[in-house]
Symmetry: D2
């Protein structure tokens, strides 16, 4: 798992994002919260776990610094906005990793458009294909998943106690607009405290990225089997056997993709859920971490991949010679659409 991504989803980063949201809130109301020094993020998160609310211990501290802190807001506003800020920075990293995966696939597709190999269905040799076309298929998957992730709208959340912003009187919509602008997040038509569609959408898109990368890594592991040996991925050490070349990075990618199975439930009661909302954060944090891990490990797998065209040709059984070869039209189309 990339350390830079873990850092973005750490307790420190989350508490910093909550502070950013509170400062933006104060500016949106025309004054500026002065936050000197930093807070002990672990302590704040520890206290927050006890009341299912990580904003509460922070707000208590901020109000000691400035009694106008958090004015008109509710804890969920700050937590949801911090989640969007964390997701934004993490998403940037994940999109970079996915772009590198796509570039790796595109390079392989182009280079190996004429490298003949056995296509395998149900893990049996079927008819000939090319390694280029195989890589073109990988490219399509990761590019489509990446596009879905890039399209998810990350929006500021500000609704006050129950989503009316009534504490601001008529200024409510104006405060919301300024708050979103300060943060560089989208301004929602109305507070989304119990409309969790965008959170679910984010997790779903991250699962697509993880899955599309995991598929590539799984194919690499299968092609790297001792008996197949058509590719050699970068290897990690074995504690027991000196001769072994474990496809460790590809395994990291597959493991991460397999882990990303949770869904956001959406069934939040009334104006704040009694349990469903509080169960969201670990799902989102896992999704960011696992999608990032899958994408980064797949990027590194492709970057260090050695391809053996001789072996690909040699592995084909005589049966396959009776079938026509694959052309490269679909490689061209994939490079044009997704490259």
């Amino acid at each position: 798992m990339p350390e830079e991504l873990l850092a973005e989803a750490s307790d420190d980063a989350f508490v910093a994002a909550m502070v950013t949201a509170e400062v933006a809130l104060s500016r949106a109301q025309g004054h500026e919260l002065q936050v000197a020094g930093t807070f002990d993020a672990r302590e704040i998160m520890r206290e927050g776990r006890a009341v299912a609310n990580p904003a509460e211990p922070l707000v208590r501290r901020l109000r000691e610094l400035d009694r106008r802190a958090h004015e008109g807001a509710t804890s969920q506003d700050i937590v949801d906005t911090a989640l969007m800020l964390v997701a934004r920075r993490s998403r940037e990293l994940i999109l970079e990793y996915a772009d590198a995966v796509a570039a790796g696939c595109a390079a392989l597709a182009d280079e190996h458009r004429s490298t003949v190999m056995a296509a395998r269905t149900l893990l049996q040799q079927a008819v000939p294909t090319t390694f280029g076309l195989k890589a073109a298929g990988w490219l399509a998957g990761v590019a489509e998943a990446r596009a879905r992730l890039a399209a998810v709208e990350l929006a500021a959340q500000l609704g006050g106690a129950v989503g009316t912003l009534a504490a601001y009187g008529d200024r409510g919509p104006d405060v919301l607009r300024r708050y979103a602008a300060e943060l560089g997040l989208a301004e929602p038509a109305l507070p989304w405290h119990t409309n969790r569609v965008r959170v679910a959408d984010l997790v779903d898109a991250l699962a697509l990225v993880a899955g599309a990368c995991g598929k590539i890594a799984l194919d690499v592991i299968l092609l790297a089997q001792t008996e197949v040996a058509e590719v050699r991925p970068p290897a990690g050490g074995s504690t027991a056997m000196a001769h072994k070349r474990n496809p460790a990075l590809a395994v990291v990618a597959v493991a991460a993709a397999r882990r990303l199975t949770g869904r956001i439930g959406l069934l939040d009661e009334h104006e704040r859920a009694a349990g469903a909302w509080q169960a969201e954060w670990p799902v989102v944090a896992d999704a960011l971490a696992f999608a990032g891990a899958a994408a980064a490990a797949t990027r590194d797998t492709l970057a260090g991949l050695e391809v053996d065209p001789e072996r690909m040709r040699g592995n084909m059984t005589p049966d396959l010679a009776r079938y026509p070869p694959a052309g490269d039209t679909f490689v061209d189309r994939a490079l044009e659409r997704y490259g």
Copy 2:
């Protein structure tokens, strides 16, 4: 569960969709498969289960009618395309239900923009809101989910044995284009037999619709509690107690939303998965059925909903009088954006 939707996802409908795909394939190659009479769908599906391949028994029968049937195609082409055809018709129905839900929410939002009630967080009365704003929040959720579902691209699948279309020689891309056009499905840049992103995307979007509707139904159930009694949803019978008004339709919606938890895994090996692909169809079929059930039951719940503004006002505790009332700016914004 709407019977019309069950019919769309029945064995009969699925076999008919496979036949449609085979006929389109023959036309795309310039001849026309003549299919006289019908097939026993249950028998075909029964035989198909035994080999994890519902196309195989159909193709055997078609080849007895016309030896050119299925030429150049593989079973997965037909099954995937049939899945897209079934999904298309089912999606039309589900979008209709979701539109009716959105219309019901919009009407309530407009009518009750000034109907004051207690907002509840963690199921405790918090501060005042309006029933109109609550309905506006429902509207936002279902409209966003509906838009996601409508945007999923349904594409024809044709790749031949392993996705090269090599059996058609240079004509491959042309056959694919005609095949997609015959079916009225999108033409993919390249065969997507092991790129399952669009299938996952479909299931994810269906889960959003089910969840957004389930959230509405859950709120209705909570507002209809004996001790709250602010709304009266349409009731279903109880076998044990004559006086009870079970919110049966809303319960159907919540149950359907809770059921839709599966994900499409994406980790398909090489050019056809050994298990992952074969596990997809029940997930998609469930997702279509449960999203449809949630949407239709929520539509009917809203259509028969009686709202009691007196009770809403009367239920508010004295504490709430100290808080400012909710305006209707966000109701207007919701109606403008999503109405």
Copy 3:
């Protein structure tokens, strides 16, 4: 999926089980419900879906035959008891399949205790093992899973409207005892209408059986790869390629194991859930069907498996010769404990 198992979980079987429960209930009260003829199971289930309650339409019909039908009971009593009856018969079949899988593993373990082959970790050849030890590991998994499934207690459910059995006055516990005895199900200490632990336990145990069988099938698929070819599983037809031997049965088993991912949620509100209970039945039905499918297909895979000891020996790379061979102590221990 075995047709005999599908029949046990069909609408017909479920309605018949509900009738059995109602008859047992009448006998437990000292009279006997006379049910002449049969009911249209599809119609009853269709009506039941509309009110999230399959017992309601049946009870209506039974009361036309005998006004004392269903006396003192609630719909959930009948549905839960029918679920237990369906599970009992299905479990018998699944245990039979699992026994056959275990017997197949034991036979392979014994026969191939000295058949040397490469062990593979992360799909790379590691050091030598024997095919007998591999089969012994399969045996341990399936035997442990089978034991868990056999140990799940299937109990009668009778609680009346809300679990008090108050309609029977002091006779309540006595009626419960007789009812359970009539049905041959365990008598619970108290009604379990909102204590779904035993339902969750059943689904969990079925997932273990499916998973343990799926692991065997996955290993078979991997060993049967064209380039490995150490075993030949029974083959199913391909629609596109005459030369291919698809490991169709093993794929059925893996697909079934992958599908069985749902959990029973347990969060049932008060004395009957508003959605959670109603979402259970499809999960249980799926679990029975998929566990049965995985076990039956694995049984048939092992029954038709051809093992190639020559190829196993020949596939080993020279590196492996430096490592000591595997003994057969653990084979003996596995056969003794689980055989």
Copy 4:
């Protein structure tokens, strides 16, 4: 989430458990690994993530101290055994919490055996019950789940590179026996490196505990609703509204129960999985954390629960007076069986 439980599942605790396993391994072979000082757990886990193997960086360090360290073992032996050691200590804590929950339920069941209240099905008042019987139902659920968790066998894992223990020659079974005895873990019949039934069983049992506790917490939240007010759970602060009593602990329990949805997949390839095994640890760690959080928060919720029998009686609608009251036979039976 209880801090003592988080500590048991921390990186520090996991690395310490791996060291414990390595020391036990050395003793089982008749010498003793001398581990002076401690290791930087974060650094070891960081390095481990990069190769999907947390034992590898530890073993490298240990071998610098003693070249015989890890002799005959593989990384998975150490990781799996450490997992069992962590699970053992965490389970002790969780069983304590569950016992306290059961004791709280039993006390309420006994004290309130005659406290009449409305039973609610589908969140509608149905007929009368007693709060004692309701608590007796909670008791049954948590006691059954607790018994399942206590029954899970935690076993040592030692198989060497591929599960043959061949590196020890004939001494293999003897080393395994001593190793298990040193650790106080069960001795398995054979290495279980790719038979993950016991890991899945552990996670399933933890989910039962979380769910059974979450059901109690959910009922408390519903009974504590402003309009119902039949119980007052311990309250946590609100950042926005001074008058609110948020049922914060009960919400923690429900959130934790909702989070625990993952399953262990069992489909591990050959003698070590390429992804499935590596995806297990976060699922187990989550399951321990969330089950513990649900149980501890439910314990504290019950410990501070104020019950209002007057309000319970007063909330009942006149319809309920026509139904017979609940007896306390089932309360007695529950206390006898589970108390």
